[in-house]
Symmetry: C2
Subunit: 239 residues, 2 copies
């Protein structure tokens, strides 16, 4: 497997992504964007990118904060995430810059690209889907579901898969229901929501032990199930 | 594969189930109960029982109405289903009679039994789970989620999987949410809900074309996805 950093830009901001792919196949392969949590592009999403490369995808872990900035505490998370969520056009532009970067790679079949995201990254994925980005699938793992810019009718192209903890305070039942209503109103062609019982925020991340954020906690079962559901969807739409 | 009818009783009622299994393996295998829709035990669940037998399970399609009675129209469905839903103890007793019958078969490992159900059968499965039946998994396909007898805390042993159409008028969002609350209140160890967008009632049944019931309609994608999710859960808990 090859892994290396990859620089790209959105407006004046330098973004430093992380690419992972199996160098052996000669043919073009489906690509998967991986959007990081509020802490920034770190070990967690890099490991996920490598797992995707093992599955045969070309994976690009995107940098949403610029210069691969990492948050050191919850206040920095709130500042970085809040800044982007208050500027959905900037957020979408950065996401689209990652998509364009991945699509332009010689290993990648630009017609078969999906995006996944974790926590903050989940909301990035959904924003790209709402924006009508050319994605076959948009998969949110414990992402925030609310938006300032709901999908317009007929705009979403991606198959949408939301994987959420039933006890995640960042995606409470009212917001799940509002998201369903948004999908219906926008006549999204393909969407599904999986809700895992007894599951908090951050369930995919083994480092989530409740210490940094009381309501984020790893759940091995939900982690495994959600990854399998993502793979099932990719088998449908990326093969 | 062997298939044959199998008679059993609950109280004074004769129940005529349908058994399907691969006769080759000598060892005891996991068993799966299949509970029928409001129309009664017919071709649809018999075909599902055979699919389960192909997967290596001993499958018993249970008869909930007695003498394998079939409803001929919606009024008969309403009478048969309403009668049992108004008598949850009778409903649970008939479901338990099927469970005892399957568990007693020489081909079956009585410690590894799951139950699935469609429409009315989905609610039967959930009633058995609420009743604390010895099931490894309880899977409801477009089942009714409401109950007169909510689960008591700690009583549910089964891993619960609810597969529901987001536009199913028999399981509207308020009832899905109430079901989630029931699962939380009962401290059910393992539960998950999958909601399929653009999906009505009866999505697993190719015969559901909206003619008998306007709001029941086959959805090939949701059918395939829901069956795969059931298999994934069985791979976890029955192997």
């Amino acid at each position: 497997m090859q892994t290396h950093d990859i620089d790209y830009r959105s407006e004046a901001v330098n973004l430093r992504g992380y690419l992972a792919f199996d160098e052996k196949p000669a043919r073009r392969r489906p690509g998967v964007l991986v959007f990081h949590e509020g802490l920034g592009l770190g070990d967690f999403v890099m490991a996920r990118a490598r797992r995707l490369a093992e599955l045969g995808y070309v994976a690009l872990a995107a940098d949403m904060f610029g210069d691969r900035r990492q948050a050191r505490n919850l206040q920095e998370v709130a500042d970085l995430v809040g800044g982007l969520r208050n500027e959905p056009q900037t957020l979408r532009a950065r996401g689209r810059a990652a998509l364009a970067t991945l699509a332009a790679l010689p290993q990648v079949d630009a017609n078969r690209i999906a995006a996944i995201g974790f926590c903050f990254g989940g909301s990035v994925v959904l924003e790209l889907a709402r924006d009508g980005a050319d994605l076959k699938a948009a998969v949110s793992f414990h992402g925030v579901l609310t938006t300032r810019t709901p999908a317009a009718s007929g705009k979403v192209k991606a198959s949408v898969l939301v994987l959420t903890g039933a006890d995640d305070p960042l995606a409470p039942p009212d917001q799940v229901r509002a998201f369903e209503d948004e999908m219906r109103a926008a006549e999204v062609r393909d969407w599904q929501i999986i809700s895992y019982g007894n599951t908090l925020h951050g369930f995919t991340n083994p480092a989530a032990d409740g210490s940094m954020m009381r309501t984020a906690r790893y759940n091995e079962q939900a982690d495994r199930r959600s990854w399998a559901s993502m793979q099932n969807l990719f088998d449908e739409v990326l093969r």
